[in-house]
């Protein structure tokens, strides 16, 4: 497998079939050291199957995965020692306390008891769980359990962190706290592989995103470059002070597609500058006042929708 020296995750030709269904089809990519990489895709696209193969939980039918240069199929333990993993829908042991959960995880990675206890106390403080550290997790909220889970994945200071939907279904406070800690870990040098349904989360957190659709990698680049590549989703959003027939705008030859939300119109265009000027003269002729007028660039959500519905 071709791998740059800086690549912490290197994937080549990854394929997994379940009977007649190809869940992941010849996926190849790499993630350099220190990058925060987002992995997006609709439900059933192959995200979780991919992350399970990357983390050694599932064996691929074809293809190779190396973590920090270690082939995960040949040396699963050595490769897993480099990782912290939060699988989707996973849970902590509710019969144990928060501290016991994190300490147990640290000991699986070979940490000495004294070191793991010190690190656990520090992490639980960082995750605002110090005052509940000796309570059984059974009574914790979902957000608190997720924080214990993430603390368990960080306890051994992994070189690469795999997070499968880490903020899904959590309250805003827990989401923000978790995002801040992911960012902090990444700033400290940890490579992060993040799958998420939250496009805005990927847009704000990730250095690069890959979009998987029907098992194949459909796009991979920085969020900004992806948005530029999908510039047909640029639009002009406009609302007037009184009901208006916008048919004339649609027939201007500048509009590709129109969407209406309440009294606001969104006109998709290849040339937002020309369309905005055209709408401005239209409003002057009709003696209309604007309540909204804005030019919208392509969003990552637009890119996602275009790629996954295309």
């Amino acid at each position: 497998m071709k791998r740059d020296r800086d690549d912490v995750i290197a994937v080549a030709g990854l394929t997994k079939r379940f009977g007649a269904i190809t869940a992941v089809d010849d996926v190849s990519f790499s993630v350099p050291e220190g990058e925060l990489f987002g992995f997006l895709g609709p439900n059933g696209a192959g995200k979780t199957t991919t992350i399970r193969m990357l983390t050694g939980i599932l064996t691929p039918d074809v293809g190779e995965v190396s973590i920090d240069g270690i082939d995960i199929q040949k040396h699963p333990i050595a490769a897993k020692m480099q990782m912290g993993i939060i699988p989707e829908m996973s849970n902590v042991y509710i019969e144990l306390t928060a501290k016991q959960n994190v300490v147990l995880a640290g000991r699986f990675y070979g940490m000495h008891r004294k070191d793991v206890e010190e690190r656990t106390d520090k992490l639980l403080q960082q995750f605002e769980l110090s005052d509940r550290k000796d309570d059984r997790v059974e009574g914790f909220s979902k957000g608190m359990k997720q924080r214990v889970l993430i603390a368990s994945a960080l306890v051994h200071i992994p070189k690469v962190l795999f997070l499968d939907e880490p903020t899904s279904g959590l309250d805003v406070h827990s989401q923000r706290l978790i995002r801040a800690i992911i960012r902090e870990m990444n700033d400290a040098g940890t490579t992060v592989f993040l799958t998420t349904h939250n496009i805005e989360e990927a847009n704000t957190l990730c250095d690069r995103v890959g979009i998987i659709n029907r098992g194949a990698l459909a796009a991979i680049d920085t969020p900004e470059r992806l948005k530029q590549a999908f510039n047909e989703t640029q639009s002009v959003e406009v609302a007037f002070d009184k009901p208006t027939d916008v048919g004339e705008i649609e027939r201007s030859g500048l509009v590709n597609r129109t969407e209406r939300t309440g009294d606001t119109w969104r006109f998709y265009t290849d040339d937002p500058d020309a369309l905005a000027k055209w709408i401005f003269s239209f409003a002057e002729r009709r003696k209309l006042s604007f309540t909204t007028l804005s030019i919208e660039g392509a969003s990552l959500e637009d890119v996602f929708v275009t790629v996954t519905e295309g």
């Binding site: 333990i77 996973s90 019969e95 699986f108 889970l149």
Partner: protein
């Protein structure tokens, strides 16, 4: 295997066993089917009857070892799959082998701890005069038997069910017939014909035999042969559990 890898392997087994002991020893199905059930069977068999408990205690003690050691294994995997902890456990630096052996060790230790108390109480209550060699035979037999029966428990957890009660049902379907063919209620030496052949097919019979030798001083099957058969059953149970668990690893996740 290099020394570091061996240490890491053993550490993982010990950690999985420790985790199982903390979480599963006090679960109601373990207490019910592992401790209370054989206790009630023992009481039902002994109270108000003229049974010769001095002769039958080795068999009843083996039944306790069987029930206690095989009660933890069936619960762990389905419980973890249902609770959502199994995939995270798989994500730790562990292998299927360490998962199985960790669970087996947890069941084995449960069987040993509970049965040290039962054997000690039985020896005191029924007035056995046990030699030092007898103690060694009982101790080693207890370890081998507890490992073997715990491995059977883990094997019974290997089907893909995520419902602990389904697995406990299956485990009882397997465990109860074994009890009745193993020479527990009738000493192996007294069994004749097909009953004796059936007893030889059950791993429990070999523990009954070893306990009879340690406590009563005589046994129908040579001790070393009995131990070898227990080891053989253990290897078969672990290898079967490994095959089935690998096949069903992702089911229910």
């Amino acid at each position: 295997m290099p020394r570091d890898a061996l240490l890491s392997y053993l550490r993982s087994i010990a950690l999985i066993a420790e985790k199982d002991m903390r979480i599963y020893y006090t679960k109601p199905p373990v207490l019910m089917f592992g401790f209370l059930f054989p206790l009630f069977m023992f009481l039902a068999f002994s109270l108000g009857r003229s049974a010769d408990l001095h002769t039958l205690f080795p068999g009843l003690a083996a039944m306790f070892v069987f029930f206690v050691a095989s009660s933890v294994g069936p619960l762990i995997t389905p419980w973890e799959k249902r609770a959502g902890t199994y995939e995270r456990l798989l994500s730790f630096p562990v292998t299927v082998n360490t998962l199985i052996l960790g669970d087996v060790v947890a069941g084995m230790l449960f069987g040993i701890i509970i049965n040290i108390i039962i054997l000690t109480a039985g020896i005191a209550a029924f007035g056995y005069s046990v030699s030092f060699i007898g103690v060694l035979i009982i101790a080693l037999s207890l370890m081998l038997g507890a490992f073997c029966f715990s491995a059977l428990g883990v094997l019974l957890a290997s089907p893909a069910s995520t419902n602990p009660s389904n697995v406990m049902l299956l485990s009882n379907l397997v465990r109860f017939p074994l009890i009745f063919i193993s020479g527990i209620f009738v000493p192996i030496a007294s069994l004749q014909g097909i009953a004796r052949v059936a007893a030889y097919c059950s791993p429990i019979a070999y523990l009954v035999n070893s306990f009879e030798l340690g406590l009563l001083g005589s046994a129908a099957i040579p001790l070393l042969l009995g131990w070898a058969v227990l080891i053989g059953f253990s290897v078969v149970f672990v290898l079967l559990a490994r095959t089935l668990l690998k096949r069903n690893l992702m089911k229910g996740l």
